[in-house]
């Protein structure tokens, strides 16, 4: 579950007059069918394609990257036949974590769907917002293209493993109310090749990434202030995803996750199977928010607790999107014993309001 | 020769606005063809006397008759008409109008009395010739010297055959040579026209052409040299 920028989208979509459109609800027991479900689910209120990963440049430097496309269905009247009908809004966000720079480079695009300038295919992953793109090719390889004012990403992401259906065959609960849930699947261990342009210089990169796919119409419990999420590609080919929905006191409202071995054995983690500990806190000099950037994640699988200590690629991976009406959060590349991945920490600079 | 004097003044009294008496019981008679010079110190009332005679000012008492007409009995308009018909003027500063030809200037009195223009102009030409400006009737004053202007003025003073000519320092603005010529001309023309003339002047030369020279004093007019 990610994507805090979504707050902006949700605000945009909030109807001024109580005129709730009929958003499709997430239900358990819906079988996902591919490649159809790689595409957009426009009846649901919110959907994302969330790619995170670590890269190594040709000259051996580590980089983290994130490319996300959001789709949001607004309260616009579906009866309006105008091709400008703002029924579907697309938003994309990309960030590059470079320890040599010490903070995030990021960029974004937003547009209402239409005219081929902004588009989300409903049959397979094929997303366009102006010059940004995320597309799944016939060979199953995703290609991602995104650019900010000072960087550009041009990456191919080749799946090495099967789709990982999160929760109950893709039905992932986020709170005590069964309606607080999403359709959720991941594609971990994507082999990355491509190039990154920084400071006007193109450099070839390779690496490993993770694609998260989620769609839903209602999500958070009213008492929630934020969440912690981590996705790790383990060096042995295994995969870990864990999340926690926190309340004001920092206590979990809901936990969840999955752990899958290289051989494909999947353990779905329930509410009591995940525990988060704090190893080190970093205080943002800009927002004074204290983020637990070093995290200890413990998960119980097969009756045994396993622990991973997450260490950030560098501390300042805070993203302040308040200027664009979004939240302040931390999202960064992390390393751990025998693996690497992305950690997302929200609601630490103030309760996250969706 | 007419039996009536051209000018007869008797018992004339005049005070200046401040109250000072200029003269009282003043008497003067001028016959046609006679030229009288009136001299006297400045401020004694020479010009006032001239204005009284011209009907331009009103006396406190006394009688002024011009060609038999009694001024004191007349209204301003009647006095003006009397001036127009019976008096000619010659001024120290000529007072020739710059926008009129010499003939038009000389013919002004005829014009004012409603006389025919052609008649006035032809007489003006004759008179101009007589004062030595023959052939220059169509000229304009800006071409003239001071002496010539005064000759035009003399022609203007005579054109309507007045009984009386009044002159106030007629040579005051002229050089001695011009003055001499103008005086001679003035005397000759006046006598030829059988007009009477009263000249107010400081100049002995002017007085010399007069038949009589009187001096105005606080006691009245006294024959010069007495």
């Amino acid at each position: 579950m990610r994507a805090l920028l979504l707050a902006l989208l949700l605000a945009l979509a909030a109807p001024a007059v109580a005129l709730a459109p009929a958003y499709a609800p997430v239900r358990p027991g819906v079988a996902l069918i591919f490649p159809m479900d790689h595409g957009a689910h426009s009846a649901f209120r919110t959907e994302w394609w969330y790619v995170t990963g670590l890269l190594k440049t040709a000259d051996g430097k580590d980089l983290g990257f994130q490319v996300t496309f959001f789709r949001s269905r607004t309260a616009a009247d579906p009866a309006n036949p105008s091709r400008f009908n703002p029924d579907q809004i697309l938003f994309a966000h990309a960030a590059l974590s470079d320890p040599a720079i010490g903070h995030l480079l990021h960029g974004q695009r937003i547009a209402r769907q239409g005219f081929g300038l902004a588009h989300a295919s409903t049959t397979d992953t094929d997303l366009v917002i102006d010059d940004w793109r995320l597309k799944r090719g016939a060979n199953g390889v995703f290609s991602a293209r995104a650019a900010g004012a000072d960087f550009r990403l041009d990456l191919d992401l080749a799946p090495q493993q099967n789709v990982l259906l999160q929760g109950d065959h893709g039905y992932s609960r986020k709170g005590p109310n069964p309606a607080q849930a999403s359709q959720y699947y991941s594609l971990p261990h994507l082999a990355v090749s491509g190039s990154v342009v920084r400071g006007g210089k193109r450099v070839a990169v390779t690496g490993e990434a993770w694609l998260d796919r989620e769609w839903f119409s209602s999500l958070l419990d009213p008492t929630a202030v934020g969440w912690d999420w981590v996705g790790l590609n383990l060096d042995d080919g295994g995969t870990l995803m864990a999340f926690m929905i926190r309340d004001k006191a920092g206590k979990p409202i809901w936990n969840g996750g999955a752990i899958r071995s290289a051989s494909g054995a999947l353990t779905t983690l329930g509410k009591d199977d995940v525990a988060w500990g704090r190893a080190r806190t970093w205080r943002s000099p800009r927002t004074q928010a204290a983020y637990p950037v070093e995290r200890v994640v413990s998960v119980r699988s097969g009756g045994q607790w396993r622990r991973w200590t997450l260490r950030p690629l560098f501390d300042d991976q805070e993203l302040d999107s308040r200027a664009a009406g979004g939240p302040v959060y931390w999202e960064g590349a992390v390393r751990t014993e025998g693996g690497r991945g992305y950690l997302e920490l929200t609601g630490y600079a103030g309760p996250l309001k969706l | 020769m007419s039996a009536i004097p051209a000018l007869s003044v008797s018992g004339l009294r005049k005070s200046v606005p401040g109250g000072r008496l200029l003269f009282d019981g003043l008497a003067l008679t001028v016959r046609p063809g006679e030229i009288v010079a009136i001299m006297g110190e400045s401020g004694v009332g020479k010009s006032t006397l001239l204005n009284l005679i011209a009907g331009l000012d009103v006396a406190d008492a006394g009688e002024i008759k011009i060609d038999g007409g009694d001024l004191s009995a007349m209204s301003d308009d009647q006095r003006t008409i009397l001036r127009r018909d019976c008096i000619g003027f010659v001024f120290q500063a000529f007072h020739i109008l710059p926008h009129l030809t010499l003939a038009q200037n000389a013919a002004l009195p005829v014009l004012l009395s409603g006389g025919g223009e052609a008649q006035g102009l032809s007489r003006a030409r004759a008179l101009l010739a007589a004062v030595g400006l023959e052939g220059r009737a169509g000229s304009y004053p800006s071409e003239l010297s001071g002496g010539e202007m005064q000759r035009v003025a003399i022609a203007r003073a005579l054109i309507h055959r007045p009984a009386l000519i009044l002159a106030d320092e007629p040579t005051g603005n002229l050089d001695p040579e011009s003055a001499e010529k103008v005086l001679t001309l003035f005397a000759q023309q006046t006598r030829d026209a059988r007009a009477a003339a009263v000249i107010v002047t400081h100049s002995d030369r002017v007085a010399a052409v007069a038949d009589r020279s009187l001096v105005l004093t606080a006691q009245g007019l006294i024959l010069r040299g007495q």
Binding site: A13, A75, S82, R83, F115 | I81, R84, E117, P141
Partner: protein, 826 residues
């Protein structure tokens, strides 16, 4: 010496300075008002177009196909493209607004000033209002507003404000999809605002854009927008600048009068100075400096007064001084020190020119002569100057045929100035030419003859006294003739274009309107004897011109003059061509002649139309084409009409017919319909006409007043200077009343000569206004009318005023001291 002279004759100095001040003030105020209006207009354009680098605008209000938007957005070098639906809307209360339908996500990148503040949503009812719109609608956040545009009404909720829109424009921003849907404009856009990448070649991108444009869209840059708004008010400005010129020239001539008189009076004084060793150059310099001081004082007062006047005018009338050209924007004063200096200099130059001539004359006179006689320098032998006058007149005549410069009739004005100066220089000669024969007819009364002789002998003095008033009278007469001709032609034209009894229209409607079924119902409504359906479309044919109009009218090809007030021969229509008729401004602006073809975008395609003739049109200064109804339907298939002309059946009651027509109109548009009887339409048009010239009339009256005051001041000075003459005349037997009569007659004669000269000059100048200035600046012609009432009253006022002043000042000069004035006193 100067101060002494001014103390002695303050009225003359004050009048001259006042006239200069009025000229400068008027000119500067008009300049300031216009500049302020233009700046506001430019700002308004900035607001509406945001910071767009370039706009693609539709040629007609119907817009272009929205498919152009992605095409433009994908042109390399275009960093962002923001599609816009732009509509003129009005509220039920009649307030008019600009409605912009935007995609807020796109506008944020191109025109951030148009992104509203407040709760954001894609809710169909959300509207963001500029402050002016809030005020106009008395709306606040949350209140509902009903907007009517393109024949549709829709209700919106005020969701927030447009702080970036400035204070001057009534703008409502709604979502683009709703704008298309709810105002019946699906698939159409009026604008796409574009932003270029930082490192792209503007020219190359623009070229690529141009290649992509369909015929019904065109590129508009901000510079072109400002040019168009300049064109909007230009013609109106021309009239006001003309008035400023009147005042300035009157002022210059009053300085001339004043300086001439004072120079004449001081001839002996100057002569003395010359004898004592003052050089000719120093003398000229001194007199010119005196004039310059008057000009400077007038100029400074004028610039200050002009600023005040402009402020007042902007507050009272708005940026077009009541002309109605800038709608919706209320400008703030933009001060312009540089221009202020220029206008001050103009005042100075007028005064210097006025002082130079007398200065040269004073310097020319021979000191010895001048010392001896105080004749005011009158020498009747001197021939009135003829050559200079004729040369000036010839220059003026030649300039009248010169083409405009930069679209402005500058040389036309030059021609008027030269003819005016020449005409005034001709005055003395004219006076003699008139007075010579007149004197022989005038009779032998002494006063008459004296008066004639005086004027005949000293015509230069007459010119000195009259030049100011001749200048103002002639220019006023010219204006009067022009305005009367204009008004008369407009009146005639209204009669020609409004032959029906009743007119009915839908406002701001290009799409939609009365469909054929509605037209049929209307035609069969009781009381209707004949009915015509029309439509007016806006056409943007050139990027730097305001939009022209396309009138769709039923035209009988064999009798076009029944539908249009034609002013040209009709060119026969070649086979296969479609006829179009150009209005006079259209023909001038786009250089069209009968027999030429013009390409016009119609129904999204360029169409070749053949100009058959030119018709008179005063309604649309920026040009209009008239196309026959059947031709239009043939080309576009559009059978909707928005204007209806109804001829009533004999005896039909207009009100009942209106009710009957109303009853058959579709209910959704009936509220928008306006009915007007042609009688009241005509009356209203003339009222608007008179209102826009009201300022003109008021200023004319002031200029005449100043001119008359100048005459009075000069006359009394001249009369006082003639005290000795009157004294001598009294001596030699002139009655007081004869002298008064002489003066009255002199005054009347002078007035008559002046009025005659002024009115004849006015007639000539009026023709230049009608034949040169107006066609060059307004692009329309008119038939000359002579406002005999005005001209005769000008004549009468001038004669009476001159005679009256002469008598008044004469009575003063005829006091008892007159008699003493003949004695030498210096």
């Amino acid at each position: 010496m100067v101060l002494g002279e001014w103390r002695a004759h303050p009225a003359r100095v004050i009048l001259a300075a006042a006239a200069i001040a009025i000229g400068v003030a008027l000119g500067f105020a008009v300049y300031l008002v216009n500049r302020s209006a233009l700046e506001t207009f430019a700002k308004a354009i900035d607001t509406v177009s945001g910071t767009a680098d370039l706009q693609v605008h539709s040629v007609t209000a119907a817009g272009f196909d929205e498919g152009l938007y992605p095409t433009l957005a994908q042109i390399p070098g275009v960093a962002a493209a923001s599609p816009v639906v732009e509509l003129n809307a009005h509220t039920a209360a009649g307030a008019s607004l600009t409605v912009l339908g935007l995609d807020v996500l796109r506008a944020a990148a191109v025109t951030p000033g148009l992104v509203g503040q407040g709760a954001h949503s894609f809710d169909a009812q959300a509207a963001y209002l500029s402050q002016t719109a809030m005020t106009a609608l008395s709306a606040k956040a949350g209140s509902p507003v009903t907007l009517t545009a393109a024949g549709h009404s829709a209700v919106f909720t005020v969701a927030g404000s447009l702080p970036g829109a400035g204070e001057d424009q009534a703008i409502v921003v709604i979502d683009i999809a709703d704008a298309q849907w709810r105002f019946g404009l699906l698939g159409r856009l009026q604008r796409v605002d574009l932003k270029f990448g930082a490192d792209t070649s503007t020219q190359a991108v623009q070229a690529a854009i141009t290649r992509a444009l369909p015929p019904d869209a065109q590129i508009v840059t901000q510079r072109q927008e400002s040019h168009r708004s300049d064109a909007l008010s230009r013609a109106y400005r021309v009239n006001l600048e003309m008035l400023a010129m009147v005042a300035l020239m009157t002022g210059g001539f009053l300085v001339y009068s004043g300086q001439s008189l004072s120079v004449a009076r001081r001839r002996p004084q100057f002569a003395l100075l010359r004898v004592l060793g003052l050089s000719q150059r120093r003398l000229i310099l001194q007199i010119v400096i005196e004039g310059a001081a008057v000009g400077l004082a007038g100029g400074i007062i004028g610039v200050a007064a002009g600023t005040g006047l402009a402020t007042l005018a902007l507050a009272l009338f708005g940026g077009d001084l009541g002309g109605g050209y800038f709608q919706g924007a209320r400008p703030h004063l933009a001060f312009a020190p540089g221009a202020g200096l220029v206008f001050l200099l103009l005042g100075l130059i007028a005064a210097l020119a006025g002082a130079l001539w007398p200065a040269l004359q004073a310097a020319r006179s021979r000191p010895a002569v001048a010392l001896k006689n105080a004749d005011l320098g009158i020498d009747p032998r001197r021939k009135p100057p003829l050559v200079a006058a004729l040369v000036l007149l010839m220059i003026g005549g030649a300039l009248a045929f010169a083409p405009p410069i930069g679209g402005l009739p500058l040389l036309g004005y030059g021609s008027m100035a030269a003819i005016l100066a020449g005409g005034i220089a001709l005055m003395p000669a004219l006076a003699r030419a008139i007075l010579g024969p007149a004197r022989r007819l005038a009779g032998d009364a002494p006063a008459t003859r004296l008066a004639f002789d005086r004027l005949y002998g000293a015509p230069g003095q007459a010119a000195v006294a009259l030049c100011g008033i001749v200048a103002s009278v002639s220019l006023m007469a010219a204006m009067g003739i022009m305005v009367a001709s204009f008004r008369g032609s407009v009146d005639d034209w209204l009669g020609q274009i409004l032959p029906a009894d009743l007119y009915m229209r839908l406002p701001d409607l290009e799409a939609g309107g009365f469909d054929p079924a509605a037209q049929d119902r209307l035609a069969h409504a009781p009381g209707v004897a004949a009915i015509e359906f029309r439509k007016v479309l806006k056409l943007r044919l050139a990027p730097d011109q305001p939009p022209a109009a396309l009138n769709v009218v039923p035209i009988d090809p064999t009798a076009p003059q029944r539908a249009l007030p034609l002013i040209s021969a009709v060119s026969p229509l070649p086979a296969g061509e479609t006829a179009v008729w150009a209005s006079e401004p259209m023909a001038r602006l786009y250089h069209l002649n009968p027999g030429q073809a013009v390409t016009v975008p119609l129904g999204g395609q360029p169409r070749r139309l053949y100009v058959r003739g030119i018709w008179r049109d005063y309604a649309r200064q920026f040009g209009a084409l008239a196309i026959g109804d059947t031709d239009y339907v043939h080309l576009t298939g559009d059978r909707f009409r928005s204007q209806v002309a109804v001829t009533l059946a004999p005896g039909a009651d207009p009100l009942r017919t209106v009710a009957a027509l109303r009853a058959v109109v579709p209910p959704d548009i009936v509220a928008d319909m306006t009915f007007t009887e042609s009688k009241s339409l005509r009356a209203m048009a003339l009222k608007i006409f008179d209102r826009s010239f009201a300022v003109t009339y008021a200023l004319e009256a002031i200029a005449i007043g100043i001119g008359l005051a100048g005459v009075a001041a000069t006359f009394s000075a001249q009369t006082l200077a003639r005290t000795r003459e009157f004294g001598m005349l009294r001596h030699v037997g002139a009655l007081k009343r004869q002298i008064v009569a002489m003066l009255a007659l002199e005054g009347a004669l002078l007035g008559a000569v002046g009025a005659l000269a002024g009115l004849s000059l006015g007639a000539v100048l009026g023709q230049i206004l009608i034949q040169v200035i107006n066609p060059q600046s307004f692009n329309w012609s008119m038939d000359t009318r002579w406002p005999m009432g005005l001209l005769l009253s000008l004549f009468g006022v001038l004669v009476a005023a001159s005679a009256g002043t002469a008598v008044l000042s004469g009575s003063r000069a005829l006091s008892s001291s007159t008699i003493r004035a003949v004695r030498e006193d210096w």
